[in-house]
């Protein structure tokens, strides 16, 4: 049985969000995972599969893709592989192997969640990229991603046909999901781990002269924190430690107990340093936002009816954004707004294409 999926795909540098609206429903089916992908160790992978190592079998939510004689461990399971990467900073990340593996894995995951016996899917993809990548790489992304993929997902063979790819600016999905204002201007600030995207829409039309993206994000704050940590404690933070410190800064989890050369790290250092790293990075972002959207009066985005603050970085930078745009709003689950909007867009594009084919 072949399933058709109209997918909204937001491939962030830290997290990947995928959404679809299964046929016959009016609800989103969503994936929200770490963007990490690692090379799997084939021998160890097979040992675990066969159970001969005396360890547990792979859990049902440990995600693997086997493609072109290589094994990849996805999302949190990437911790168990070699060279885990999110493709952070790779200019070709939107059409390279990392994105293809993610699409193979998460398309199969969606399809089998909808119909467990499915082994083949057709995908119509709508994805967002930073504004600069949208201007420079749209055609390359489409030509690289469209095609047929034969692979195994969690040990079972799967065939994926990516029939169509439409590329839009990150932030556009969020604007669609939250809704445009027919006769008014809205702004979107999409705060990510590597990039910040700024979009202006007059009604539903993008005002491209006031759209841009720049490379300041949560990753910038991480680098600042890492520098201070290394200066005092003589080593870098790893990805796990950084994630825990970041979540702790929101009060979601306790600060982690860390060690350097056997000595325990002062938690107050972590608390103070993360706060100042985020504040400094927020200030850098504000400088560039003001530069694009300020009026002669010196106020920022004052003629906009609203400014939406979306993306995972909005949890950390919203207070600082409100210092220059008092009316900035952060919707519920801001990290999912883009993929949801792109899923809705994918559905509408598919419906329009059906009408055209009938005509």
């Amino acid at each position: 049985m072949t399933l058709t999926l109209n997918l909204g795909f937001d491939r962030g540098n830290a997290r990947t969000n995928v959404a679809t609206i299964p046929d016959g429903t009016s609800a989103f089916l969503e994936i929200d995972v770490s963007s990490m992908i690692a090379e799997g160790n084939m021998k160890r992978y097979q040992m675990i599969q066969a159970g001969s190592g005396g360890t547990d079998h792979l859990a049902t939510n440990e995600l693997t893709v086997e493609h072109d004689d290589s094994v990849y461990f996805l999302a949190d399971f990437a911790d168990q592989g070699r060279n885990p990467t999110t493709g952070f900073g790779d200019k070709n990340r939107y059409h390279g192997k990392h994105t293809k593996i993610a699409l193979m894995g998460y398309s199969a995951m969606m399809a089998t969640r909808i119909a467990s016996s499915t082994r083949e899917a057709v995908v119509n993809l709508v994805m967002g990229v930073p504004f600069r990548a949208y201007q420079e790489q749209q055609e390359k992304i489409v030509s690289e991603l469209v095609g047929r993929y034969d692979y195994s997902f969690k040990g079972r063979p799967f065939v994926l046909h990516i029939d169509s790819v439409r590329v839009f600016m990150e932030g556009a999905g969020a604007a669609i999901y939250q809704g445009f204002e027919k006769d008014a201007t809205i702004g979107v600030v999409d705060s990510g781990s590597l990039t910040t995207n700024l979009l202006r829409f007059d009604g539903a039309r993008a005002h491209t002269e006031e759209c841009t993206s720049f490379e300041i994000g949560i990753g910038t704050a991480r680098d600042r924190l890492n520098t201070r940590f290394e200066e005092k404690y003589g080593r870098e933070l790893n990805q796990n430690e950084w994630d825990q410190i970041l979540y702790a800064s929101l009060g979601k989890v306790p600060y982690p107990e860390l060690y350097a050369d056997g000595e325990s790290v002062d938690i107050d250092d972590l608390r103070v340093w993360i706060a100042s790293s985020i504040a400094q990075t927020g200030s850098d972002k504000n400088t560039l936002i003001s530069k694009l959207w300020s009026s002669q009066s010196g106020k920022t985005a004052s003629s906009f009816k609203k400014v939406l603050h979306v993306g995972g970085g909005s949890y950390y930078f919203h207070k600082s954004l409100q210092q220059i745009i008092k009316s900035a709003e952060r919707p519920q689950e801001p990290e999912r707004a883009n993929s949801r909007g792109f899923a809705v867009l994918a559905n509408q594009i598919a419906q329009r294409n059906k009408v055209l084919k009938r005509a």
């Binding site: 547990d56 669609i176 999901y177 939250q178 809704g179 009604g203």
Partner: protein, 84 residues
């Protein structure tokens, strides 16, 4: 409470060079308790008593059905397509 000690055993088996695991192993030896006891306590400390399996976002499920599609989103999508 879900038993995720087994999961961490896999992590320990595969990543004995991980500093957190080495530190924990040394602490376990010093206190003369099994490593699994410290691993389990660390899980509870970080992820809470009722957490799902350990992950970077302990409260998020990887795949789930969520809220209904908003009518305004559909209308906005059509407006967007009409303007490109």
């Amino acid at each position: 409470m879900r038993d995720y000690t087994k999961y961490y055993y896999i992590e320990v088996a595969l990543r004995r060079d991980h500093p957190a695991i080495q530190n924990m192993a040394a602490e376990a030896e010093r206190r003369d308790v099994p490593l699994s006891v410290l691993v389990k306590q660390a899980c509870i400390d970080v992820y809470g008593e009722d957490s799902e399996r350990p992950s970077r976002s302990p409260k998020k499920k990887e795949i789930e059905v969520v809220s209904s599609v908003l009518e305004q989103s559909i209308s906005s999508a059509n407006d967007f397509l009409d303007n490109i």
